[in-house]
């Protein structure tokens, strides 16, 4: 390890080079280890694209077909690889088209650096062509943003952007760079950022809190762990597994936490939340100690807060102090990075098993299996179900694929039934629920983990929101597997209309195009399955393909997703039908 003195000398002896702001941006990206970016050129970012052309052997730029696709691809890349995703766009509409992806990354804590071009400094505020106040617009949906107006600011701001995006609770950062700052020259040297005066990435774990938490866990008769994405972001999968096994505690996950622990681990009791599993939802209101790890008690997880785990002592392992006591009161908050706090608590935990308590989960699972799961994945009725498609993908991929889901019924079914052996395998738009997320995110996911199979599961609604990204898959031959579960409806909204709006199906019926022909138009191998007997072999064929593959499965039009905690109900009011 370098000493401080050596570091200082190294910095002093670093020779600066005289280059343009645009070239400096490329050097910053390279210095941060970036080799892949997604984006779309335009007037105000052209000097940077000109430099990208010169550096194309070191830095690959993928031209998405819409800037929103660039952000979701960068998200998919970041989520599977654990690295920072980078997206680039021009000013005005280019920048505003990033907003959905920024908001998605902000609420799902995904590290992104987005670079936007901006009109020259002297035109700012003049309503110039393609000028928008993207700093004002993106402030509520970024972890940090900054407008660079001088070339000399570029290295420091870019270093800060990467540091803020990936440290602590990660998030998206937007750097807006005026065109004059791209053209002007600066004396360039690059030093990575490792601290910002007003920013504490992660609180230091407190020994007393750890001790109190361990006491509660050791004395609990009916403890329940609910973990979220904080375990994955903190790289604490092993520590979670050790805690679960040592203390013998049933563990459930939020949608963003999926895949951190093997789906078939005997102590993995399933998903919590609106369409989560029956047992963990119901028993949340019976546990005596609720151990929340890296999750934020989203309303889709808690249902009606006034009736959420009121009987339980709550321990909240959390990196972001603003999340503690926000929705659910924490009797013992344990602040800090999940890997650090879980490692520290492990030696304080007594080995235990909670056989009787676990038995309750098994009983509830059996009820759910008999009333819901069996019919979902082994249907006896004629029409194809979404669940059986997911089950076939599990079988054909040996549970090793990265599953990227869009938003709607197929996503809930996908997250309920997809099985995972590896972490970072469930990529979905959790907090924002962005339709159109999956296709571009799957492109990014594949590029972030070329050695893994990536299967995008998408509904016919969401697919058509970003369908143009098929162009990227074709142009770069990205071997993702695309499965559209087509029920010719906006299925989730239709389900709510059926259950809560007296079957008034307002604008949820879709007349769809020939999706196979569209995929074929992009020269992507494509098949359609309409009958059960074709399903297994076609999915096997798809998984065996080395190329991009499109599969449309015509599923039952009016199936519903259960169990369900209706909006505003308590977790214990979960419905099985």
């Amino acid at each position: 390890m370098e000493t401080l003195k050596e570091k200082k000398t190294a910095q002093k002896t670093k020779k600066s080079i005289r280059i343009s702001g645009a070239e400096a941006i490329i050097h910053c990206l390279l210095a941060e280890g970036v080799d892949l970016i997604y984006g779309y050129p335009g007037g105000a970012i052209m000097p940077v694209y000109d430099e990208l052309y010169k550096f194309q052997d070191k830095l690959t730029h993928i031209l998405t077909r819409h800037e929103q696709g660039a952000t979701h691809a960068a998200q998919g890349y970041a989520r599977v690889s654990g690295r920072v995703g980078v997206a680039m766009a021009t000013s005005g509409p280019g920048a505003t088209n990033l907003v959905t992806g920024l908001a998605d990354a902000q609420i799902d804590s995904t590290p992104l650096v987005c670079i936007t071009g901006q009109v020259p400094r002297h035109l700012l505020g003049s309503d110039a062509f393609q000028e928008t106040d993207i700093i004002g617009i993106s402030t509520p949906v970024t972890k940090w943003n900054y407008q660079v107006t001088k070339a000399s600011e570029i290295p420091e701001i870019m270093a800060k952007a990467f540091y803020i995006a990936k440290s602590g609770r990660p998030g998206p950062v937007l750097v807006d760079i005026t065109k004059n700052a791209q053209f002007d020259e600066l004396d360039f040297t690059y030093t990575k950022c490792n601290g910002v005066r007003s920013y504490k990435p992660a609180p230091k774990p407190d020994a007393d809190a750890l001790k109190q938490a361990a006491d509660l866990i050791n004395n609990a008769k009916k403890p329940l762990i609910v973990w979220g994405q904080g375990v994955i972001l903190g790289k604490a999968e092993e520590e979670l597994k050790e805690l679960v096994e040592k203390a013998g505690i049933p563990a459930a996950w939020t949608i963003m936490g999926a895949s951190a622990l093997d789906s078939e681990h005997p102590l993995n009791v399933g998903m919590v939340g609106m369409h989560g599993n029956y047992g963990p939802n119901l028993l949340t209101n019976e546990c005596d100690v609720l151990i929340a790890i890296g999750m934020r008690f989203d309303d889709r997880v808690t249902g009606r807060l006034e009736d959420y785990a009121k009987q339980a002592k709550v321990i909240h392992f959390e990196i972001d102090p603003a999340e503690v006591n926000k929705n659910v009161h924490a009797d013992v908050p344990v602040l800090g990075n999940s890997k650090e706090t879980l490692s520290l608590i492990l030696p304080l935990i007594n080995p235990n098993s909670h056989k009787e308590w676990l038995q309750l989960f098994a009983e509830k699972y059996q009820i759910e299996y008999d009333t819901v799961i069996k019919n979902d994945i082994y249907p006896t009725k004629e029409g194809l179900t979404m669940g059986e498609v997911i089950e076939e993908i599990n079988l054909a991929s040996d549970q090793k694929a990265v599953i990227v889901t869009d938003v709607g019924q197929h996503r809930m079914i996908g997250c309920r039934y997809a099985k995972f052996k590896e972490s970072k395998s469930n990529i979905t738009s959790g907090g924002l629920g962005t339709m159109g997320f999956a296709l571009p995110a799957a492109i990014g996911a594949k590029m972030g983990a070329m050695d893994r199979e990536v299967v995008a599961i998408i509904g016919d609604g969401g697919y058509q929101m970003t369908i143009q990204e098929l162009g990227v898959i074709f142009q770069h031959n990205v071997p993702v597997k695309i499965v559209v579960l087509n029920n010719d409806h906006l299925g989730m909204v239709r389900q709510w209309q059926e259950l809560f709006f007296d079957r008034r199906y307002a604008s949820t019926v879709m007349t769809n195009p020939d999706f196979v022909k569209i995929a074929e138009g992009y020269h992507i191998e494509a098949k359609r399955v309409t009958e059960r007997k074709e399903l297994k072999s076609t999915i096997q064929e798809m998984m065996a393909s080395k190329n991009p593959y499109f599969l449309e499965v015509k599923v039952e039009k009016e199936d519903n997703v259960f169990p369900m905690i209706p909006s505003g109900a308590a977790v214990s009011e979960i419905r099985l039908k």
């Binding site: 509520p140 803020i164 005066r197 007003s198 972001d320 102090p321 603003a322 926000k326």
Partner: protein, 145 residues
């Protein structure tokens, strides 16, 4: 807060919390600004909002104080039609009793300056209101105890 960014005000707006007063000034530390924001809401929400403000990158520290922990020292200016000074005797009494000062006089109007505790400003406002106040402005610098 470093850099005088007001982007975080959206945190109040999205919860429909009306900002009673907002004061930005230099603090006792160089290059650090101090924002004092007065709002009327529940302590639970203030707790959440303070957490969300504190995690903004430029914010060094955010605190909250309840009403009884706060010292208000305000300055207020009242603009009043000049003819009232001669027609309404009571106005002269108010000026005297409130220890306020006339800071400018013209043919059309005069301006009264008053500093004091919040209730003193409120009281003077109520006294002058029946005579017609042309313009009124108050500042609310305050400290948590």
């Amino acid at each position: 807060m470093l850099d005088c960014s007001i982007g975080y005000l959206g945190i109040f707006l999205k919860r429909h919390i009306n900002i009673e007063s907002l004061n930005v000034s230099k603090s006792e530390i160089d290059h650090v600004s101090k924002f004092t924001i007065v709002v009327n809401t529940t302590e639970k929400w203030v707790h959440n909002i303070v957490g969300q403000i504190e995690k903004q990158i430029e914010v060094i520290k955010a605190f909250y104080h309840t009403d009884d922990e706060t010292i208000y020292q305000e300055s207020a200016l009242f603009k009043i039609a000049s003819n009232l000074l001669f027609d309404e005797r009571q106005i002269q009494n108010i000026i005297k009793e409130s220890n306020s000062q006339i800071v400018t006089v013209s043919r059309e109007f005069f301006v009264l300056a008053k500093s004091g505790r919040r209730f003193e400003i409120d009281e003077m406002y109520e006294q002058l209101k029946p005579f017609g106040i042309m313009q009124f402005v108050r500042s609310r610098p305050n400290f948590g105890n």
